[in-house]
Symmetry: C2
Subunit: 337 residues, 2 copies
């Protein structure tokens, strides 16, 4: 470790120019003679000089830093994609991310915000770990804030969420395109729960059916509790029907996991006897299930990216952006016999 870093004064002295000139070179100011620029450049490189961030941000009042407040990161594997998308977007614009997990605790949330204001972050990305409504305290109004995978009921903040309806529609359409007409849907929770996903996915399912002129049959629809076991339960009910479904759109991959269990136990094989499509693209489940599960991916990376780009664009309209959910094709869908 070297004793002390060089300062801009050291460089100016070594290059026999004024500090202003060095600063201009550092900031690619065009008002510098080419020969001077090259000379200063070379001195900078020779000495391995690195400007001090603290000094720079004190003077420019810009921290080149964005705060990322995550709620309960540790509870979901998606978090990494969200952070990665945000980080990549930030990096592209020369900024870094200060990450705090607020653990879904309102007090911590407030303290996190304070820490970030102190550090003069240029904006805040607030990310929930699954699609939900969120009520941020007013204190967040004092700094540009973008919500990710959540939304403010009063539209006080711009937000970006997955297009659940489009995703569910795509899932259902995919089954339809494979010739299926009797398509069951296992909702990923009670439809009257506060979280919007089950309702919106159900909505997409119905839209796809209706677009294809297939009547929605309520007996083909089952509300699970969101866990694998209750998904299995639903699957059993549906295949016991007089006119059972030939394909199942599961509200989440977790449910699909339970469904696989139930179907295999009944001696049905996937996708020969019945096709399955999931939702969420929980890699660890979907890719390692046997056969691998086709599913709709949540666009976490893209949402993280969008949030940063929007934040740095300087726009101030509180739009609610929908990001579409792509299909991830794997092995669980077959043609209707």
């Amino acid at each position: 470790m070297d004793s002390r870093r060089y300062t801009i004064q050291d460089i100016a002295r070594a290059a026999k120019v004024g500090v202003g000139t060095v600063s201009r070179v550092l900031n690619d100011d065009p008002n510098v003679k080419d020969s001077t620029r090259e000379h200063v450049q070379s001195v900078i490189e020779r000495l391995g000089y690195q400007p001090s961030f603290a000094a720079r941000s004190l003077r420019t009042q810009k921290s080149q830093t964005i705060g990322f407040i995550a709620d309960a990161v540790a509870t979901t594997p998606y978090a990494v994609h969200l952070i990665k998308g945000a980080q990549d977007a930030a990096w592209n614009q020369g900024k870094l991310l200060l990450v705090i997990d607020a653990d879904n605790d309102p007090k911590l949330r407030e303290r996190a915000l304070e820490s970030m204001l102190e550090r003069e972050v240029e904006g805040i990305v607030y990310a929930a770990m699954f699609h939900q409504e969120v009520n941020l305290p007013d204190s967040f109004q004092q700094i540009p804030t973008v919500l990710v995978d959540c939304f403010d009921p009063h539209s006080h903040f711009p937000s970006v969420v997955p297009d659940e309806v489009q995703g569910a529609k795509l899932a259902t359409q995919t089954l339809i395109r494979h010739g299926h007409k009797r398509i069951g849907h296992i909702a990923n929770d009670r439809l009257d729960i506060v979280y919007p996903a089950p309702r919106l996915r159900f909505e997409g399912y119905k839209q796809a059916l209706s677009d294809a002129h297939i009547d929605f049959d309520p007996t083909l629809m089952c509300e699970s509790d969101g866990n694998a076991l209750s998904g299995a339960q639903c699957a059993l009910e549906l295949i016991a029907l007089a006119d059972p479904p030939t394909a199942l759109f599961c509200g989440t991959d977790r449910i699909a996991m339970g469904v696989y269990d139930a179907l295999k136990e009944q001696g049905l094989s996937i996708p020969e006897d019945i096709s399955i499509i999931g939702f969420d693209n929980q890699e660890i489940i979907a890719a390692y299930l046997n056969p691998a599960l086709s599913t709709i991916a949540l666009p976490h990376y893209e949402m993280g990216q969008w949030a940063i780009d929007y934040l740095l664009s300087g726009s101030t309209t509180n739009i609610q952006e929908l990001v579409s959910c792509p299909l991830v094709k794997r092995a669980s869908i077959g043609l209707k016999a």
Copy 2:
């Protein structure tokens, strides 16, 4: 958004004291009369003053920030625990984390380091996403760096890794304590692979057997390719043995997932016919498998925490810390009939 933040001068003027006094109050300097302190405190609160981080770190030459470089965060769900552990430990000491994902790309790694040096972070935590050897460029020597879930073959850096041997031993002992003597082991990869986990877990398995005076039977051991399918393959081989195992220690939860499939297909039930224990505690798999999988947890949170605490302790010995892996009891282990 208010037009401009207050500075320490504003507070000094408003409180009719010198800036030095305000600074002393801010930093809990005992050399301030109680009455003065209270008065200044109240003005600070009334105006909602927040000190500028940039100014402070310029003057003190401390950024109160730690760099967290992650390799390929997006490829594993563990990352969040690592980050959480580090963040919590940092937060306890008033520091925040600057997070960059280096995507397992040496060039990006170097650029990440540079970005962090520029920002004068007080140290760096370099986290791999699974237990492995890692060769950091020399440039990391210029700043205190701690390795997490990886280690430097030349011991140039302190590091913290999971105690795989202890974990595997615990897994095997748990089965032994349930009365099992014929315990199979499906290694989570070829033993001659560069990554150390398969070897170490195998080692722990053998130690537990030997401690219990059970002879190691090579026919009960099977090297998988690390994926669920090949785990299933192994399981089939083992149960076809003349004297088949009554319990299986799977090198990872992913393998256990394949094993579940294979066993169910053979009409065996868990844990009545055969007990299973995994390794890794991949929540999404382990908790939702049916029956839920007992497994050994990797101490990611604790490793993250340890790294920060060690970094901030100022120690400079390049120790290699082992963190023990606890058992997570679920439903897949039963008493030997």
